[in-house]
């Protein structure tokens, strides 16, 4: 456990009667890319702020980079943070803001150039922030978080409102850090966006951790069926499912299209049997549950408890 970037144990944070974070345990390892997902108000931002020491827990223990974040500022030199809805000072230029933040982190201002180039703001950094688009402001926001190559990068809804190309660029940049051992945690309310990016997904619901694992783990946990769509040639369409032997759930969804449903764990077996089936088919399409389906499942389960 000593190698963990951040360890939260039994952390609870209440605002009056409302419980923003409720008994959360979380361990983040070096190089991990973690997607923190949940509805607005599920406790994502509070969890991040707890790790930064901006709010103090009512119960539980937090250790980030070997220190309690609410006390002692030293460990913060190795943390990068991009707050949600950051409003940068409009009259300053991007380069000036970067110089300010770099000097606070005791990093050479000369290194800023490379960071600004990396986020695609090499030229625009000379201009004032009020001339920037939303995407450019977010790039500067990311750039300041990258100063000094942090060991922990906490990005609170960094890609909300950005176009898909820029979003992809964001993920590429943080991936480079993750490869070098930085723990990256990105929060979002749209899980699908982070599907191909994250090593691990933590689902928050009403302050509690509803799920935590790799995407594959979550798929299995959610027990959502895999759907297999098969387009058949002329003939009796019920022949195929019958040829597969076991009672598979299926329905006809088109003129010549049927949809089979099976548990994710049985998917490989079903496909194998399909391949050896005497009934020929024209096309096959395997629909694994989307992240949003899985996510909705966990949220519903949490709400039902």
């Amino acid at each position: 456990m000593s190698g963990a970037t951040a360890t939260l144990s039994g952390v609870t944070k209440r605002y009056g009667a409302q419980c923003a974070v409720d008994g959360v345990d979380l361990v983040l390892q070096p190089g991990e890319r973690v997607a923190l997902v949940g509805h607005n108000g599920a406790g994502k931002s509070t969890l991040i702020k707890l790790m930064l020491g901006l709010v103090r827990p009512n119960a539980g223990r937090i250790v980030v980079l070997g220190a309690d974040p609410a006390h002692g500022a030293a460990a913060k030199a190795e943390i990068g943070y991009l707050p949600e809805n950051l409003v940068l000072q409009p009259s300053a230029t991007g380069a000036e803001l970067m110089a300010f933040y770099a000097s606070l982190k005791r990093q050479p201002v000369a290194h800023n150039r490379a960071i600004l180039e990396r986020v695609g703001m090499g030229e625009a950094a000379k201009r004032r922030v009020h001339t920037y688009s939303k995407g450019m402001r977010q790039r500067i926001g990311l750039a300041q978080a990258l100063i000094g190559t942090p060991r922990l990068l906490l990005l609170d809804e960094p890609t909300t409102g950005l176009d898909p190309a820029l979003r992809q660029h964001f993920y590429e940049i943080v991936d480079e850090l993750a490869h070098r051992g930085t723990t990256v945690l990105i929060s979002s309310h749209a899980l699908a966006e982070l599907e191909n990016w994250s090593d691990r997904v933590v689902v928050m619901s009403r302050g509690r951790k509803a799920a935590d694992g790799t995407i594959t783990d979550l798929r299995e946990l959610a027990e959502r069926p895999v759907r297999i769509r098969i387009t058949l040639p002329e003939g009796n369409i019920s022949l195929l499912p019958e040829s597969l032997g076991t009672a598979l759930e299926w329905e006809r969804i088109g003129e010549r299209v049927i949809e089979l449903r099976c548990p994710a764990a049985d998917k490989a077996e079903v496909v194998r049997r399909l391949a050896t089936s005497p009934v020929a088919f024209r096309d096959i399409e395997i629909l694994v549950p989307t992240l949003d389906e899985i996510y909705a499942h966990f949220l519903q389960r949490e709400a039902a408890e």
Partner: protein, 275 residues
């Protein structure tokens, strides 16, 4: 220490950049020059140094203007930055909260200091060119500029306290206006009313002294209008000056306390605050 200097420098740079410094300097210079030129016109024959007159009129102006400017530049400092998310970002850096408050305070005090020195200095320079300023009056003038900055610092600290206490920067702005109205206008009127009604029964000179120290604007007024004989004569405060038990040191200490106490309270409130 380093972080304090960096934050203070940024505050000054921002002040220059968004033209606060220029606007305040021009306003103070314009009002100071107007008072200087109008103020010296009727005094040509009585033989009073125009500079002493200027000290009287400028310190009367300062009592209203400087606290207002100080509160305007300070009320947003904490609540506004929290709302914009920049405070959370700043605190994610290796910076302690007291360093943020101290750095910002020094930056804002410097902005006000620059504006006061240049603005009032312009009036002083205009007089110096006119000639006929007796050497002693410069001491009173310099003390006036210095204490004006100190008065500003006290109200910056009060503005920070308001900004640290409330969540919404607009509420902090409302409180700042309230603070200004209370100390610059209402306090003296209320005090006068009490003195008239009381006729010296319970409000003894000692109580009055305490009441005057309880308002930084009054401490400033007494310090400048009674501190120098020429000035007090012209301010019509000579009688009061002789009766006052309060020395210059006590008045200056009151102003320093009016800066240090609210600033410490603001830092204390901010240290416990959750973002």
């Amino acid at each position: 220490m380093r972080a304090i200097a960096i934050i203070a420098a940024k505050e000054v740079r921002d002040g220059l950049r968004n033209r606060w410094v220029v606007a305040i300097t021009l306003l103070m210079a314009a009002l100071a020059l107007t008072l200087t030129l109008l103020g010296s016109a009727p005094t040509g024959t009585v033989g009073v140094s125009p500079l002493s007159v200027v000290v009287v009129s400028l310190s009367s102006l300062t009592i209203f203007l400087v606290p207002l400017i100080a509160l305007l530049i300070s009320y947003d400092a904490i609540a506004g930055e929290i709302e914009r998310g920049t405070m959370g970002l700043l605190l994610s850096y290796p910076v302690a909260r007291f360093e943020v408050v101290t750095g910002k305070f020094l930056g804002h005090a410097a902005i006000l200091g620059i504006a006061t020195i240049i603005g009032y200095g312009a009036a002083g320079a205009a007089l110096a060119f006119g000639g006929g300023v007796e050497p002693g009056a410069w001491t009173a003038f310099a003390a006036m500029v210095g204490t004006s900055i100190l008065l500003g610092a006290a109200f910056i600290a009060l503005g920070y306290l308001a900004s640290a206490l409330v969540r919404d920067p607009r509420t902090a702005g409302g409180i700042a206006v309230g603070i200004w109205l209370f100390f610059a206008l209402i306090y003296d009127m209320a005090l006068l009313g009490i003195l008239v009604a009381d006729k010296g029964r319970t409000v003894t000179p000692a109580v009055l002294d305490a009441l005057l120290l309880a308002n930084p604007a009054d401490a400033y007024r007494l310090l400048n209008l009674t501190g120098f004989s020429n000035v007090s004569l012209f301010a019509g405060m000579a009688g009061l000056a002789q009766q006052m038990a309060l020395g210059k040191a006590a008045l200056a200490a009151a102003l320093v306390a009016w800066t240090a106490v609210p600033l410490s309270l603001a830092a204390l409130v901010f240290a416990r605050r959750e973002l």
